[in-house]
């Protein structure tokens, strides 16, 4: 393990795990359509997800201590052929995405049948698997253009999934359309960026691009490429001024779809951003530092406060959670902008922790929708008392969203504050706490409604069926578990953060930062006043 295998003709199945990770759901999706039997659609999708989950566990186990697995698609050696490269960063993401899929699908069984009807189930699950494939592919691939292709696979199927909400509310269609327009613009910006990288480096393999940029330093084309990639991915991430598609898409999509999207899709986009910022572009480039300090920090703060503030005044539980997602993305970007190991660790851990937290909350909302047909606050009065287990899961999710000690959300916010203090940005730590207080407000409003208001009538008497309940319980337990035992989350995340900050993504894994051009970016913009504790790539030890 843990070394670059020159995978020419690997023999055992275990050597093919990286590609199987993507191929299994990809093949299952058309299989569902071809078989066309409604009763088989869900089991097939579930089996594919379980296989993908097992594979991701095996991959994570192999790379959690550092090192990476390189897999050459079709036996074509990496710089020319397409490479799949698994390291601690994306293994954790693969684990999250496939885990959410395995847990979310049983939930979807009941929820989807209720919300979009049994008639469309076959196509729905085929589409769902395509989205799943796309997200896994975006995360696992080591080829720039391949990222674009998988991104579009996941995006196109996402638009379809969001539009399924039209049966309940026709605004889902316009939400999907808006998302389609913005998502396509984002993806096209991204592809322009890749084109510019290809112009100046002549290669598409991310590791190879990284090597060549390190050799030749930056030039205007490379800087323009960076801008295009950040803006393009910013649209997918829902970075604050580019977030307009998100609230409607999350609100009007079917609950099970929202669960999956909220937990995975923006995370995959954050991952791509991380990959390009740290693995492809060396983080010591001055333009990148400027981007992080002068663009990411203000926008991340804006997200943390403005989106949380808007969330407080929503009267729809689901829409409130959508705005809260935008705010949480602010924390992730803030972690990136800290530019140190603790910051990156917090970003990666928060991707994971927020994934499970938001999944459990949206599942709770879906359970309410199943019972009373709506997620508006005034129609879910007192349901927490009537549906005790659902209510308890929402409480745990809400606490984790706030970042109460003992829950997963606390771990990542704590890491973020550590990172801020390391940089001397104590005011950011203060602002993180203040914005968490806003989170207290919007979570409290929801809990107030579901526990302290009197139930509207006696029609709702019990929790949703077990297929919805068990996933919720598993995720709620995970929220607590990953708040106490952090070996997997922090372990993988800190390994990932260290390797990202070392810029050790080059083709040669051995000579890590040795002759990395620490100050190479010669012809950069009139070097703006460097913020205190500037870029110095020397990763300060955390903890």
């Amino acid at each position: 393990m843990a070394t670059a295998e020159v995978a020419v003709a690997s023999k055992t199945l275990a050597d093919h795990l990286p590609v199987l990770q993507v191929v299994v759901p990809l093949v299952t999706s058309p299989l569902i359509v071809v078989i066309g039997v409604r009763s088989l659609a869900w089991p097939l999708a579930f089996i594919a997800s379980v296989i993908a989950f097992i594979i991701s566990c095996l991959l994570l186990y192999q790379v959690i201590d550092g090192g990476f697995i390189s897999y050459a698609i079709g036996g074509w050696a990496p710089p020319l052929g397409i490479e799949y490269r698994v390291d601690a960063t994306n293994a954790l993401l693969l684990f999250l995405i496939s885990g959410i899929s395995v847990i979310g699908l049983p939930y979807a069984l009941t929820s989807i049948r209720f919300e979009i009807g049994a008639k469309n189930e076959t196509l729905f699950y085929a589409c769902y698997l395509l989205c799943f494939t796309g997200l896994l592919g975006v995360v696992i691939t080591g080829d720039a253009f391949n990222i674009f292709v998988f991104l579009e696979i996941s995006s196109l199927s996402t638009y379809v999934l969001v539009a399924q909400g039209a049966i309940r509310d026709k605004r889902a269609l316009t939400a999907a359309y808006d998302y389609l327009i913005m998502g396509t613009i984002g993806a096209t910006f991204f592809v322009i960026g890749i084109g510019m990288l290809y112009m100046s480096t002549g290669t598409l393999n991310l590791a190879d691009i990284a090597d060549r940029i390190a050799d030749q330093g930056s030039n205007r084309t490379i800087r323009a490429a960076f801008a295009f990639i950040v803006v393009g991915m910013g649209l997918k991430v829902a970075l604050v001024p580019l977030h307009l598609w998100l609230p409607n898409a999350y609100t009007f999509a079917p609950s099970a779809v929202t669960v999956f999207l909220a937990a995975t899709s923006t995370k995959a986009a954050v991952y791509v951003l991380l990959r390009f910022m740290f693995s492809v572009y060396h983080p010591s480039f001055i333009f990148e530092v400027n981007t992080l300090y002068f663009i990411f920090i203000p926008f991340a703060l804006l997200a943390m406060f403005a989106a949380s503030f808007v969330a407080i005044f929503q009267s729809d539980f689901k829409r409130m959670l959508a705005y809260s997602s935008i705010a949480q993305i602010g924390y992730m970007l803030m972690g990136i902008a800290m530019l140190n190991v603790a910051g990156l660790t917090s970003t990666i851990v928060h991707m994971f922790n927020h994934g499970i937290t938001k999944a459990v909350l949206f599942m709770g909302v879906g359970a309410f929708v199943l019972k009373v047909g709506s997620s508006f606050y005034d129609s879910i009065h007192g349901l927490g008392r009537r549906m005790p287990i659902t209510g308890a899961c929402i409480v745990i999710g809400g606490l984790s969203l706030i970042g109460v000690p003992g829950t997963a959300g606390f771990i990542s916010k704590w890491m973020l504050m550590q990172a801020a203090f390391e940089n001397g940005f104590w005011w950011i730590a203060v602002l993180v706490v203040l914005s968490s207080l806003l989170a207290v407000a919007y979570v409290w409003r929801a809990l107030d409604v579901i526990y302290l208001k009197a139930p509207l009538d006696d029609s709702v008497t019990r929790d949703p069926p077990l297929t919805m309940l068990i996933p919720m319980i598993i995720l709620a337990v995970a929220c607590v578990w990953f708040g106490i035992d952090t070996t997997i989350s922090i372990g993988a995340a800190s390994t990932a953060a260290e390797s990202l900050l070392n810029g050790s993504f080059g083709m040669m894994p051995t000579e890590i930062p040795a002759e990395m051009p620490a100050e190479v970016p010669a012809p950069t913009i009139e070097s703006a006043p460097e913020p205190e504790t500037a870029p110095a790539p020397a990763p300060t030890e955390s903890q």
């Binding site: 026709k170 269609l173 929503q314």
Partner: protein, 156 residues
Amino acid sequence: MAATSETAHAVPSSIFDWDFIFGHANYWLFIVLMMTGLYIVVARGNLVKKIVGLNIFQVAVFMLYISIGKVTGGTAPIFPLDMQVDPDVAYSNPLPHVLILTAIVVGVATTSLGLALIVRIREEFDTIEEDELLVIERKMTAADNREHGPAMGGRA
């Protein structure tokens, strides 16, 4: 590879460096086309026209990729049948072209999905003009507001 960008041109003698301007004709084309497309997406209220704008925007990127694959004096990258490659013959770079084949497929898929959504929107809303859609949605939101409490935000 074309385009090692700014290194190629000398210090301009006049205000306009005509060599630079004409030497990068493909980039100007790309930028004009791209901005035209993006402008249509933003400025046009008709949903179908937005899709058309999106297409122009995407095609601009295709042109960028295809033009950077061109090698001066290069011919079509097809080897002779006997595989005896003459080292003097320059070939254009086929890779960007192949990439764009994929991107065209993606573009077609996006267009068809967008049009399908428009058909559904027309069925449900009875219009495909953005301003009318906004009016309808605002009414629905206002109705939600009246029904479910005064504090609900519209489109943030």
